[in-house]
Symmetry: C2
Subunit: 271 residues, 2 copies
């Protein structure tokens, strides 16, 4: 196949809302690629119905879990073992090349140029910058690679208990081999940058193409006032209220009406 | 010339203590390179005398200052304008190649292999990883480059008010041009990595070759108990008490006796 696709993942209805907003943001910026969402069995029928309206393909996958509570506790993220499920994306062999994007990312300009890159291209992680962040990456679906990845998981586990540890272990020459596999940070810009190096954010942040709401607080964890278009609660702590408001504007204008149609008139405005 | 040198900088007696420890750590790991320290006019005669015992060359430079209080305030580091003084290192044209190291770095293994790299090689900054951290970098002294750097400062200033902003502006293709100019993060490992991505630190931190105590709290800001070999105060916040103790062990065993000899018996054990 020569088809290409953006791929995301949601194992529950909260992350599904993230996937909906991501899908809409890709459409609004006129991507020419297919959109695929991998869903776990716990995603409700209503959420799936909405996902079907936004994505070209909604694919059911079984949930993989690292079961590695020790490493995940180190990051205070016991929930991340389930991110092993991400590895299923390599089985999408009816596409020649894909870009995986976390469900907590938001596209703010067309990024189809990412398909010029080769596997495995990704942006540096701001925590340990010789690791790539696994929230946005270019890959080639392949059952062979999928098999090797699962084998790697079995033999070596994940140094952080999540998919990022596995993928960095497996694609271990990312930091040293090929500069073209280093996506610019603006393709996976996380809020961490704002509080660790504010002047750089002020200098380069306006060029952001993808915003990544990584960490424990997700856009859908906040409560939004639909009439005032403001967020309630400790938004300062998020450090990127502007992007958060952008996420909520898109969610309330284009996703919420679809959810209301499926579910009835529950408000869906708080996390 | 074909001589090569490690270069550091101290504009006051506090940073001079850092430079002494750095110099000792390079000697202890048997570097074959020359050691140079640039000193500002405020460094005392006694400190200079000690520096002369550790370094091959102690070179007086005038203090440059960015005078850019606005950007520095953003980082809560009003003191960093003076880091423009670092640019003087390009005038060391009696060396063919040099490695600059901040006075708040500590070498924990031989790193002479850095001289195989070309200008400008540096490790990614964990805050905005498409910027390099200017605490450790490989460069070629050149009066021409020095002139261009000063001109760049005049025309563009520094986006962060310090030397890192200037150098990243000037060597602006670092993130995209040549993977060989990306030093592994273990050549400039900062404590930020510990609290932002602890599992990666546990996985890779043991390979550290250079520890960088960046940020407001420097090793010499703490108070050390010489008999118990422990640090007083809020050491947790530093997140790398192990490396801090290593710094203090070296300082107290090898630098303090030299300072005492020059100054008399003042204790020099608190910041
Ligand atoms: O319970 C979960 C946790 C994660 N994910 C998926 O795995 C990705 C990675 O997790 P997360 O974004 O929470 O990790 P972070 O970026 O905060 O490290 C998410 O974006 C989702 O696509 C999911 O579907 N369900
Ligand atoms: O008052 C100062 C501030 C800085 N420096 C030199 O400039 C370097 C960079 O400053 P610093 O290490 O404080 O910055 P950080 O690494 O914390 O960003 C120091 O290591 C010193 O070599 C100096 O000599 N005097
Ligand atoms: Mn994420
Ligand atoms: Mn420093």
């Amino acid at each position: 196949s020569t088809e290409q696709a953006f791929v995301t993942l949601a194992t529950n209805d909260s992350y599904a809302r993230g996937a909906m907003v991501l899908g809409k943001s890709l459409r609004n910026h006129k991507t020419s690629k297919k959109l695929v969402v991998l869903v776990g069995p716990h995603v409700s029928d209503q959420s799936r119905a909405v996902l079907h309206k936004i994505f070209d393909e909604v694919r059911l996958v079984d949930v993989l879990d690292s079961g590695d509570t020790a490493h995940l506790a180190m990051m205070k993220r016991p929930d991340l073992g389930v991110t092993f499920t991400k590895l299923h994306c390599w089985t999408l062999t009816h596409y020649s090349k894909c870009v995986f994007m976390d469900a907590d990312t938001l596209v703010v300009s067309n990024i189809d140029e990412l398909f010029d890159r080769e596997e495995l291209s990704a942006a540096p992680d701001p925590g340990w910058p010789d690791c790539f962040n696994s929230g946005v990456f270019v890959f080639r679906p392949s059952n062979e690679t999928y098999g090797k990845l699962l084998q790697y998981c079995t033999e070596h586990g994940s140094f952080d208990g999540g998919d990022q540890g596995v993928l960095n272990g497996f694609f271990s020459d990312w930091a040293t081999a090929d500069i073209n596999k280093h996506l610019p940070f603006i393709y996976n810009m996380s809020s961490i940058a704002i509080y660790t190096y504010l002047p750089a954010f002020k200098q380069y942040g306006a060029n952001a193409k993808v915003v990544h709401f990584l960490g424990q607080m997700k856009p859908w964890s906040y409560t939004y006032n639909l009439t005032q278009r403001t967020l309630r609660g400790d938004v300062q702590a998020s450090s990127q209220p502007g992007f958060l408001l952008q996420w909520w504007a898109l969610y309330s204008a284009e996703v919420l009406p679809m959810l209301v149609r499926e579910y009835g008139d529950q408000p869906f405005i708080s996390g």
